[in-house]
């Protein structure tokens, strides 16, 4: 679970796990330590230092330890400044599934910082990135979510991108989505899944 923005760093560490001073300079050095446990604690403590966003983003691109990676994305989510959000969004382009999925989970919790980037992500030339952007929308509490999803199923030419948006629209869609759902079935008449899922969504919103 992502730490909430502004939440103080928990003080539940045991003595001996963190023996270094917690000032910014030392933490930045420790972030590069060979010991994953030290890197993990440094990443966690750096959540309180917005100036460390660049260093965390850089380490995120190279980090090989999964627990450290998870803490880095959580700390960036806590910061939620422009550098941190852009660093998390860059993970959507990563071929490293764990890095990508960890970033998606954190981005879902950041509706306001993520919203300005969503239009560009949903029009990215790479269909996989568009799918990951739709994944971010899954629990993004933002008033534009349905509008974004409707645009995807009306305009995206990739059936797997539309199918991903359709899955979500089936859960959050309202009467506003009716025409788009019917249009989608016409756009992909040879795809049984699209027909199946669109009919199910229409039935759920009471027009099927």
């Amino acid at each position: 679970m992502a730490l909430k923005k502004g939440q103080p760093t928990p003080a539940c560490h045991s003595p001996g796990e963190r023996q270094e001073p917690r000032n910014l300079e030392t933490l930045l050095q420790t972030l590069l330590d060979e010991d994953p446990m030290k890197r993990r604690w440094a990443a966690r403590d750096l959540a309180e230092h917005p100036a460390a966003a660049v260093a965390l983003v850089t380490q995120l691109q190279h980090e090989t330890d999964t627990t450290v990676l998870q803490v880095i994305v959580t700390s960036l989510g806590c910061m939620a400044n422009d550098v941190a959000v852009r660093g998390l969004i860059d993970c959507l382009y990563s071929e490293h599934a764990l890095r990508r999925n960890a970033a998606i989970e954190v981005l879902k919790e950041l509706p306001e910082p993520v919203a300005p980037h969503m239009g560009q992500l949903l029009h990215d030339p790479d269909p996989d990135v568009r799918i990951f952007a739709v994944n971010v929308l899954e629990s993004l509490r933002h008033p534009n979510v349905e509008e974004w999803l409707i645009e995807v199923i009306l305009k995206d030419d990739q059936v797997n991108v539309c199918a991903t948006a359709l899955d979500l629209l089936g859960e959050v869609g309202s009467l506003r989505a009716r025409e788009a759902l019917q249009t989608l079935k016409q756009r992909f008449p040879q795809e049984p899944y699209i027909r199946f899922a669109a009919d199910l969504a229409l039935k759920r919103i009471g027009v099927g």
Binding site: N101, I131, N160, P192, Y193, A197, L200, A201
Partner: protein, 125 residues
């Protein structure tokens, strides 16, 4: 009747695959993520085939497959499915122990021959 475990966090996808597989004569059980799938293994025993989504919360398809193989079920056939078309995902699925990687959405005429083939009931070509 052969038993298939469908693991996907999207309810619509699970229902779609259930309908296809049940109409073809298979018994289907659903799980909403890899963790629940492992619980089903504990409570319901092994299945004849696993249809596994890659991206799921709590425990993803890679994690489930790794655990499945560690449970001394190296032979249990598994089809990994995902919406992503990246070659890296396909490669990762096969390295994780999947017998096959398919991109969603999957048509019945694509899925059923592969399922039957992996179950030894016909060609998977």
């Amino acid at each position: 009747m052969k038993r298939i475990l469908v693991i996907d966090d999207a309810a619509t996808v699970r229902l779609y695959h259930r309908e296809i597989l049940e109409q073809a004569g298979f018994a289907v059980t659903e799980a909403i993520n890899g963790l629940e799938a492992l619980e089903k293994l504990e409570t319901e025993g092994h299945f004849d085939l696993y249809l596994v989504d890659i991206n799921m919360p709590k425990l993803d398809g890679y994690g489930f497959l790794k655990a499945l193989r560690e449970k001394n079920m190296p032979q249990a056939p598994a089809i990994m499915i995902s919406t992503e078309s990246s070659p890296r995902d396909r490669e990762g699925a096969l390295i994780a122990g999947a017998n096959l990687y398919m991109i969603k959405p999957i048509r019945p005429e694509q899925l059923l021959p592969q399922v039957r083939g992996l179950l030894g009931e016909g060609d998977s070509s």
